[in-house]
């Protein structure tokens, strides 16, 4: 049926639009231009790369043949690096390969980067909240902190900290020990107590992982029961309880199963177990109680002390020394890099006991002149020992140590990026409407509850996107460690390039690794943002 009142759309005259004003055409055209530009750039870079690669000369494979393509481009990395790295996460020797050295640099970069991100988050959040404090003094301090950090280049902050604060600190003789705590600060770094793993730590850690799994299992089981019976239960409490039980079993199992550690002593020393050492020292010092021994005058104490040989940084060193310290037994220690050096010193009588793993001791005992006159005494160990630093002669040993370079880099990055983050946090908090705070106050929430339960969760929406960029900048800026001589990935790469001349490969490798770190980081944070921050805002 005809409906004369309704205009016939199909019959409406099509208005002519010239193609240079047609939005659809312009959209497609813009994309084509973009693709062409990208191809030109990629082509230029690619041909440039290829011609430069030819200029570098022949690439030799590890087996001596000449490489035509890119097959052996990284074979040079298998050679001995030949340089030492002052500070590594894992053990490293001068004879290790360039790959090993690069890996140590990578770990150092990660160490500074991750610690930096964690500490920056804490400092930045506190400073950002303080900026908005109603307390004039606190907000002014935060304001000045932010302004100073934002207006000084990071490199200058690092130099200030390194040369102006840490290297200008007390020297070894004037080592500071705040409040008599076992924390030592001087211009060689900061030593502090730290748990250290012994050789049986693996078993204990396996049990910890098992406990974490058990925690989940308990939570799921209780959830199922709750759905089935409607009876609710405290999941966290039972989960933590089962975790602790398993961790304790792991601790005792690891302690009981570990019979890898031992001491090499002479039969004449009459040491048959660790307890004997205490008696012998008491007798030698001619006092009745161990606590009295340490009150003796210095020369007498040195005479009474047990002389010990160990391998440098070995688990046995950590374990045995912590046992001596716990018993208050005075000792003097000599460290060796190789077992044969240590056993030679022991053979010459330079030390009364040689502490190492049993397999090492058994192998080295047969090299001694008269193996049967030496005994292998087993010593117990716990998976983790609390290692406390102390003066040993002129050095500070034990515990963990932060080098001046690492400390300056970490503190500098944290202070600088803390200032940046503080502004992000402030902006985030101010993006939350005042009504939210008023509602929280009217409900009786305290100031800290208002902040942590209402305001900060909502401000994350504004904070997280720029925060990802800040974190990535921080991680990339660990490369400024080069200026302080910190052995991060960039510095190791720098040395590698100087020694091998293979700049292209090393730079590409470095770029790929930085890229990989950045991608992993931003994927994780974006995932967090999508899952916990954006979804809840509807």
């Amino acid at each position: 049926m005809e409906q004369p009142n309704q205009p016939d759309i199909s019959a409406a005259p099509t208005q002519y639009v010239p193609f240079w004003r047609d939005g659809r055409v312009l959209g497609v055209f813009g994309q084509i231009i973009f693709i062409i530009v990208m191809i030109v750039i990629a082509n230029t870079l690619g041909s440039n790369f290829a011609s430069n690669k030819d200029k570098l000369g022949e690439i030799h494979c590890a087996d001596g043949s000449v490489d035509e393509g890119y097959r052996c481009a990284y074979d040079f990395m298998q050679a001995n690096a030949g340089f030492d790295i002052s500070e590594t996460v894992l053990p490293y020797k001068v004879e290790d390969s360039y790959w090993q050295a690069f890996y140590q640099g990578f770990l150092n970069t990660l160490k500074v980067g991750l610690l930096g991100v964690i500490l920056t988050t804490i400092i930045g959040t506190l400073a950002g909240v303080a900026r908005l404090s109603s307390n004039w003094l606190i907000s002014q301090i935060a304001l000045w902190y932010v302004e100073i950090m934002r207006n000084i280049p990071l490199l200058i902050i690092l130099f200030m900290l390194y040369f102006g604060v840490i290297l200008a600190g007390p020297d070894l003789k004037e080592t500071m020990q705040p409040w008599g705590l076992p924390i030592f600060f001087n211009n060689r770094g900061l030593n502090f107590p730290w748990p250290q793993f012994t050789s049986s730590a693996g078993i204990f850690i396996a049990f910890l992982v098992l406990g974490a799994i058990q925690y989940q299992v308990v939570a799921i089981a209780l959830d199922r029961r709750e759905i089935r019976t409607g009876k609710s239960s405290n999941k966290a409490r039972w989960g933590i309880f089962s975790f602790i039980v398993i961790a304790m079993i792991g601790w005792f199992a690891a302690s009981a199963m570990s019979d890898t550690e031992g001491l090499l002593v002479t039969k004449a020393s009459r040491i048959r177990e660790v307890d004997d050492i205490e008696r012998i020292i008491l007798k030698r010092a001619d006092v009745g109680l161990m606590s009295l021994v340490n009150d003796l005058p210095k020369e007498q104490l040195a005479e009474a002390a047990l002389t010990v040989c160990v391998l440098r940084d070995s688990p046995s060193e950590v374990n045995f020394i912590s046992q001596l310290r716990n018993r208050g037994i005075p000792y003097s220690i000599t460290r060796f890099d190789r077992p044969d050096q240590a056993v030679a010193a022991y053979g010459e009588g330079k030390c009364e006991v040689f502490a190492a793993s049993k397999s090492v001791l058994a192998a080295e005992r047969v090299t001694l002149e008269n193996p049967t006159s030496h005994l292998l005494v087993p010593i117990s160990e716990t998976p983790v020992v609390w290692s406390v630093p102390a003066f040993e002669g002129l050095n500070i040993a034990g515990g963990s140590k932060l080098s001046p370079e690492f400390t300056a880099l970490l503190v500098g990055l944290v202070l600088f990026y803390g200032g940046t983050l503080a502004e992000l946090v402030r902006a985030g908090i101010q993006s939350v409407s005042k009504g939210q705070s008023e509602a929280a106050q009217a409900l009786g929430l305290s100031e800290s509850q208002r902040l942590t339960l209402v305001v900060l969760p909502q401000s994350l929406k504004v904070i997280i996107p720029p925060l990802i960029g800040t974190y990535l900048s921080l991680i990339k800026d660990t490369s400024l460690g080069l200026a302080l001589g910190f052995s991060d990935m960039y510095r190791i790469s720098f040395v590698t390039i100087n020694q091998t001349g293979q700049a292209l490969q090393v730079v590409i490798l470095m770029m790929l690794v930085y890229l990989a770190i950045s991608v992993v980081f931003s994927v994780l944070l974006n995932w967090y943002n999508a899952k916990y921050v954006i979804m809840v805002e509807r």
Partner: protein, 251 residues
């Protein structure tokens, strides 16, 4: 509902002045509220009526004078402020629900963290109030998924779950679409009949006439006239009030 004449005074306000910088928003306000009394505050915008009720739970800080709630003087003592806020609930014009929490989490947040109730107890009582305001089925949604009237009812349930004795309403229907005003006013009327002490800033004359025990007219930061609702509308004395009533009632 008539107020028991022997009821105790729950709020006492004497000569309260409040400044925003140089501007004096309240210029000496006196008011005594009895337990169970329902009071509606009227007045043109900028008259200080919102400021006044916000001073009662310290969202605004008064400069001079005394405010006493249930015998607790409102001073800089943060413990007293917290105590008063537990007894005084407030419903806002803009609802101010927490958008990152579900309806049930909105309701149980303060009981769990301030009253230190267990989650079970908070959810039980929260659900009771959510049922009372007529939207128990919305418990697991987010505020953004609800209509304005529903959000305001959630805000009322959130306030009531804290079990306050005094309720402050700051223009609770002003941000609502007309068809949603009624559902909120019904809830408020029920609460008035149940004996809650209520101070409401509102332009809903029907509510003022029907429910209020007393009506207060404010302008220029002062109380200009106060009286029982029927007398107030039939027989206004102050010229400013006559003008105000003629303006709003003739629309």
């Amino acid at each position: 509902m008539a107020v028991n004449p022997t009821a105790e005074n729950i709020i006492e306000i004497r000569d309260v002045h409040l400044w925003y910088g140089e501007f004096e928003a309240l210029k000496g306000v006196n008011l005594t509220v009895k337990q169970g009394e329902v009071i509606v505050l009227l007045g043109p915008s900028g008259s200080g009526k919102s400021t006044f009720i916000r001073a009662i739970n310290r969202l605004e800080e008064h400069g001079r004078g005394d405010i006493t709630v249930k015998g607790i003087p409102l001073t800089h003592d943060v413990r007293d402020i917290a105590e008063i806020r537990r007894e005084v609930g407030m419903v806002f014009q803009q609802f101010n629900l927490f958008p990152h929490l579900t309806i049930m989490e909105n309701i149980t947040l303060a009981p769990i963290n301030v009253r230190k109730w267990s989650r079970e107890k908070a959810e039980e009582i929260g659900m009771k109030w959510l049922t009372r305001v007529g939207i128990p089925e919305q418990a697991n949604k987010y505020p953004g998924q609800l209509s304005g009237g529903q959000q305001q009812r959630v805000a009322i349930a959130r306030t009531l779950t804290m079990e306050p004795e005094v309720l402050l309403f700051d223009e609770p229907t002003s941000a609502l679409d007309p068809e949603m005003v009624k559902e909120v006013l019904e809830v408020m009327s029920d609460l008035a009949n149940e004996g809650y002490t209520i101070l409401a800033v509102t332009h809903e004359m029907g509510f003022a006439r029907g429910v209020a025990d007393r009506i207060i007219f404010m302008d220029y930061g002062r109380i200009l006239e106060t009286g029982p609702s029927d007398e107030f509308f039939e027989n206004p004395k102050h010229d400013r009030l006559k003008l105000f009533l003629s303006q709003i009632l003739h629309h």
